[in-house]
């Protein structure tokens, strides 16, 4: 761990998108490429002004495909790189998200989600991309995605996203939405010397045949370009040295499985959940902005003598299956709340339904997070 070099320390009242940008600056981000899209544009807009002040580069590309390609290239040139978009942009980026996974490239992708499918409603937030970010690129892989619930967490979790990306050499998603992206709240930025950053490990041996650059479940150092290190980087099936290999089944197996195992074997260090359901008869399972409705509903319920708790998935990928199983083993009723038609619900049910009753509730109107009173009604129905 090293300390951040710069941070806009103080108490601020600003947008989630602003907090995300300042989080990236504090995390040492020095390259951002993007294409403007509501409700994510403020991050790019602000970064275009802010990055040159700290010696970084902002690149407005012709589209989202070029944006993610630039970011992958910048990471291989040693930059801490980020791109920011919304759902339509993520759809365009999917092919190269697979490229980043395959080449074990640390990047941060901010998805300020909006109501869809397709162009949908630009300014209204909805958690519509939760599964597409994990399953949208072809082939088999694991992804890491974090779900903030406030502008403050858009700052905190952007830093965490960079640290995870650098620790495991993977793309990491921050799954914000238009509601918190455009929400203004108190944002506390600590002094730089209180922000811990993970430094990238770079090898020193020049010859790639004498190093392991890829497929290390324990995470290989990254032979970034520009330091006299020879390296071969390909998204086609490759061996531990990065050499293309389309003939040996054992190499193909490791090419797919080792990056997956790299994430799954570190699941305990990566996954973060917030559990508050001791002695509960029902637990509200949520992630992202809806978590705030859930806590408000749990409070209303407790005030009426109902034993209702909450389980919040701060990391939604890799899927926190152990936390779900634990809740199911202790509480008889799980109510899953999502600002979509129920995207994580099947995953949660798969881990919980053997031990407890699992139901789903969406908001009255998609895009508007749940009214706590509507949650309370459903809770009463389940506990009746």
């Amino acid at each position: 761990m090293i300390k951040a070099r710069t941070a806009l320390a103080g108490t601020h009242f600003d947008m989630g998108n602003w907090a995300c940008a300042e989080g990236a600056i504090a995390a040492g981000c020095n390259f951002v490429a993007g294409y403007p899209i509501t409700p994510a544009s403020e991050v790019a807009n602000y970064m275009a002004k802010r990055l040159p002040q700290v010696g970084g580069i902002f690149l407005q590309t012709e589209d989202e495909i070029a944006a993610i390609c630039s970011v992958i290239g910048a990471s291989w040139a040693g930059c801490r790189a980020l791109t920011v978009t919304s759902g339509p942009g993520i759809s365009l980026m999917q092919e190269n998200i697979g490229f980043a996974v395959s080449t074990e490239t640390p990047i941060v992708i901010i998805d300020v989600q909006r109501l869809g499918p397709s162009t949908g409603v630009p300014s209204i937030g909805m958690a519509g991309d939760i599964v597409q970010v994990a399953r949208g690129s072809h082939g088999d892989y694991q992804i890491i995605a974090l779900c903030p619930e406030s502008p403050q967490e858009m700052f905190d979790l952007t830093i965490r996203a960079f640290n995870i990306a650098e620790t495991y050499r993977v793309p990491v998603f921050l799954m914000a939405d238009g509601f918190i992206g455009h929400m203004r709240e108190q944002i506390i930025i600590p002094p730089a010397d209180q922000i811990d950053l993970v430094e990238r490990r770079v090898p020193t041996v020049a010859d790639p045949m004498k190093r392991q650059d890829f497929l290390d479940i324990g995470v290989a150092p990254m032979p970034v370009f520009g330091k006299g290190l020879q390296a071969h980087v390909t998204s086609s099936c490759h061996d531990e040295h990065g050499m293309r290999n389309l003939t040996e089944p054992a190499v193909m197996h490791r090419y797919v499985m080792n990056p997956i195992q790299k994430i799954l074997t570190h699941r305990d260090q990566i996954v973060e959940v917030r559990e508050d359901y001791v002695n509960a008869d029902l637990v509200l399972v949520t992630y992202g902005t809806v978590s705030r409705s859930a806590r408000a509903a749990a409070r209303l319920a407790r005030n009426q003598g109902l034993r209702v708790g909450t389980l919040r998935l701060i990391t939604c990928w890799p899927f926190p299956e152990e936390a779900i199983r634990k809740a199911a083993s202790r509480v008889n009723n799980l109510l899953v709340l999502e600002n979509n038609s129920g995207q994580l619900y099947p995953y949660i049910r798969a881990e919980a339904a053997h031990a407890s009753r699992v139901e789903f509730l969406g908001p009255q109107f998609l895009g508007q997070i749940h009214d706590p009173n509507a949650i309370l009604e459903k809770v009463k129905e389940m506990l009746a």
Partner: protein
């Protein structure tokens, strides 16, 4: 826990969302409270609908939406048509009488201020109508302190326009009538 919810709405260009930001800034930066500000607007640059929702509380705001506001600040008839029926029973309405002719009978606590004509004819800066409304709001409620709101406004208006905006604020504070 005290939690006060406010909707401030108007037409695009009237500065409703900016006024909401000033309230939140005043609460967080100068009154030491917590605030959540959210917003919505149509895609027209001028004349479409625009609204901000502000929650001010002594503790961190848990549920971030405003469904039934305690206070509605309305800068246009459209704002009344959209939001007057959502006011909490006993809630108060602060309205720009230059822009609004009809209000529903269900609303009891009404404060009136001709904000647009004050901004246009007395401040000589039509764009300060939102600041006139903030002055009126500050007089009619204890949502934020006058010192805090004035400081937030000074921080957020363009340099060189501070005096005009302070005039607008003072006129709103002095001229508001009702309830």
């Amino acid at each position: 826990m005290t939690r006060t919810e406010l909707t401030i709405a108007g037409l695009g260009g009237q500065g409703s969302i900016l006024a909401g930001m000033m309230l939140g800034k005043a609460a967080v930066a100068y009154d030491g409270k917590f605030a959540t500000h959210t917003q919505a607007y149509s895609s027209e640059l001028r004349g479409g609908f625009a609204a901000a929702w502000v929650i001010i509380a002594d503790e961190p705001v848990e549920y971030p939406r405003v469904i039934h506001p305690d206070i509605l600040v309305a800068q246009a008839q459209d704002s009344i048509d959209r939001f007057a029926s959502s006011l909490k029973p006993g809630g108060i309405l602060i309205m720009d009488t230059d822009m609004i002719s009809n209000i529903p009978e269900s609303v009891n606590g009404v404060f009136r201020i001709p904000a647009t004509s004050i901004a246009r004819n007395e401040v000589n800066e039509p764009v300060t109508a939102n600041i006139v409304m903030l002055g009126a709001l500050c007089k009619c409620t204890d949502l934020v302190s006058r010192i805090a709101l004035e400081a937030a406004i000074q921080e957020m208006v363009p340099k060189g326009k501070t005096e005009k905006n302070m005039d607008a604020f003072r006129l709103g504070y002095e001229r508001v009538k009702g309830a």
